[in-house]
Subunit: 220 residues, 2 copies
């Protein structure tokens, strides 16, 4: 027999997936705006953020209800606590996409200083990390979650490359200092997006194995 809590957990998962889809779209739009130099696309990022914020509150409320009414234990409880954390990470990913849109708008108002290949790569990896971390969550796929952790090194490496390249350029072209800082901040936001996906992957591993691998698994 299906338990009431199972149906409610399925609903919660669906809400998280919907929200994750909005985060992915928001990141994709912010990056597309930057690459195609189309300021209008930034507006959509802000529209999507409103939805993400609304979903953020709704998921929290649904989790509180479930905790209060069902008094879940063991794996159900771990799952709900993980959802509360994933919810927070998704909301902050939405904020990062908005931050990208602000720096991106500033950047597009200045002389372009370089190809944005690395930024594009970072955005693609971040997008795959968001999608992958949520896939691993929905399927309970712990191996997939572990792959996400590895992708984080890739995005960190690209961020460092952007920092180095942009600083080298700033040294030779003082007029481009502001534009350079815009790109550095965008790279930083993308790296943070990757960090949040990593948090989600860690939560998935905890939810499905009960193993706390945060902080190197030293204390879990």
């Amino acid at each position: 027999m299906e338990r009431a809590i199972d149906t409610q957990m399925e609903d919660l998962k669906k809400m998280i997936l919907l929200m994750g889809g909005h985060v992915e779209k928001s990141l994709a739009q912010a990056t597309a705006a930057l690459l195609s130099r189309d300021l209008n696309l930034f507006k959509e990022v802000h529209e999507i953020e409103k939805k993400i914020n609304e979903e953020h509150i709704k998921v929290d409320q649904a989790c509180m209800n479930l905790l209060a009414k069902q008094g879940p234990v063991a794996r159900d409880l771990r799952m709900i606590i993980s959802i509360i954390k994933i919810n927070n990470d998704l909301e902050r990913m939405g904020d990062q996409a908005v931050n990208i849109s602000y720096s991106g708008r500033d950047y597009l108002g200045r002389n372009p200083i370089r190809q944005l290949n690395d930024i594009q790569k970072m955005s693609e990896i971040a997008g795959r990390m968001v999608k992958g971390s949520l896939d691993s969550f929905v399927r309970g796929d712990v191996e997939k979650a572990r792959e996400i952790l590895k992708m984080d090194d890739e995005i960190d490496g690209l961020k460092n490359k952007v920092y180095q390249d942009v600083m080298a350029h700033m040294k030779t072209a003082s007029d481009d200092v502001e534009a350079g800082l815009d790109l550095i901040l965008i790279a930083r936001n993308l790296e943070r997006l990757g960090d949040h996906a990593t948090n989600i992957a860690e939560d998935v591993i905890f939810a499905f194995t009960g193993k706390d691998i945060r902080h190197g698994g030293k204390f879990g």
Copy 2:
């Protein structure tokens, strides 16, 4: 008669306060290292981070236990959920202090480019925000929590000032581009610390009033 859950809640609050004390100390040490140009002080930041990480896991475990064994509802439940979130914010504040120590170490290896008055001010405000947000949590002081939200504007203003000043300097002194970026990243970390304290203040307001004021209170 005192309920078992009350004693356990008090223990949880004490753990959060201990952790908050470590975050404050970590921020203070990172800033002191920078201002006094004493690299040794950065080591302590890393020592404290280990403690914070350990506490992070312990608080989570204690919350899970409490949820599983006591099946709390209403205000108790809101309080525990808030503690889970506050715990996450404190841990990330610890990360920001560590980030400051990395950029700070880089900065001290270069030619100093300016007085660090604004950075010092930002650190002081961030420290007061950490302390104030936790005070408001322990006392259930919602008014105090609202004050924290206002302090966040102050720290944002200072961050923008640091950005502007440092960029102006970078334009005239290309040798100082790296040092300038170090300071910009430190200012950014301090602003993020303030953001986390703001999150805590919002959680306090939710825990004690049941009112969700996040995202402008539009959805709570």
